[in-house]
């Protein structure tokens, strides 16, 4: 009887571990998807800022070539 109870407890524990691991990896997967999108949005925003600055600088250079 003790052996059966122990085996049942052991199996439940393994199942819990499997379910937890499953949920952890699901969150990892969804987190990775959001992270990649987030990083790209940051990169594209930084590039936009850099391009605007450069455009202003070149415009000034063309309008006032001697300065």
């Amino acid at each position: 009887m003790k052996l059966i109870l122990f085996a049942g407890w052991h199996t439940l524990s393994d199942l819990e571990k499997r379910v937890n691991r499953n949920v952890q990896y699901m969150l990892l997967g969804l987190g990775a998807a959001w992270l990649i999108m987030f990083i790209y949005v940051i990169l594209i925003t930084l590039r936009e800022r850099k391009l605007r600055k450069e455009l202003d600088r070149v415009r000034r250079m063309v309008e006032q070539p001697n300065k």
């Binding site: 379910v19 990896y25 990775a32 998807a33 990649i36 999108m37 455009l55 070149v58």
Partner: protein, 227 residues
């Protein structure tokens, strides 16, 4: 006008994504064999579809450039391809994490995964090539050829799960006669695809604006040198 479209699309995509996340996490049950991990499909499949569609659209735009020599086609092709590469990266990353649980390995060198990785590398090379060549027409011509070659590979990757027996599952979506999912479980894939498509449209519009800034900078620099 462009700003209004971007804000409108962002609001729509954000609301749709929030509603989808609510459905995915609260309304849908765990899958019988896979448990909770199957929910990765709601990003994995739409991201890969957008990646493949983007590479395909980039190819048609590249052909448009080769035929007309109009640099606007090239700018749009570059924008679409860059965004498609981001979604292909999401597809590869989510697929790898899913595989770790279901197959017990992070990666398998089967035809689908390998051809998609090769595709990702080709289009990564496409973006590097664009940075390496300064002359706009030469850059557009080289990039167009790479885009066409890469898209052929993307099509092979798309069909690979029908043509070969792969570790990757055969088609599961009803549109490809897969029929492997209950209808209630399949619908959020399409809603997420719509939300991510709106989001990718915003990204392409922003990238297009950047391409026009870059062209203007290039023109002004030439003027400054000529003075």
């Amino acid at each position: 006008m462009r700003e209004k479209i971007i804000v409108g699309l962002a609001l729509f995509a954000g609301a749709l994504l929030a509603w989808n996340m609510n459905t995915i996490f609260t309304a849908l049950p765990d899958e019988l064999n896979q448990g909770a991990i199957y929910r990765i499909i709601y990003f994995h499949v739409p991201a890969n579809i957008l990646g493949m569609l983007g590479f395909g659209l980039g190819m048609f735009l590249s052909i448009g450039y080769l035929v007309t020599k109009d640099l606007r086609y090239d700018a749009l092709a570059a924008s679409v391809t860059e965004v498609a590469l981001v979604f292909a990266s999401i597809g590869l990353a989510t697929g790898s994490i899913w595989a770790r649980i279901i197959w017990g390995v992070w990666w398998a060198w089967d035809v689908r995964l390998t051809s998609w990785l090769v595709c990702w590398l080709i289009f990564g090379g496409y973006l590097m090539l664009r940075r390496a060549v300064d002359e706009p027409n030469q850059r557009a011509r080289f990039a167009a050829v790479v885009s066409v070659l890469g898209s052929v590979n993307a099509y092979i990757s798309y069909k690979s799960i029908e043509w070969w027996n792969t570790q990757h599952p055969q088609p599961v979506l009803s549109i490809r006669n897969g029929g492997g999912m209950a209808q209630g479980m399949e619908a959020p894939i399409w809603w997420n695809l719509l939300a991510l498509a709106c989001f990718s449209t915003i990204l392409v519009m922003v990238r297009m604006r950047q391409e026009s800034f870059a062209r203007e900078i290039d023109t002004l620099r030439r003027m400054a040198h000529a003075q």
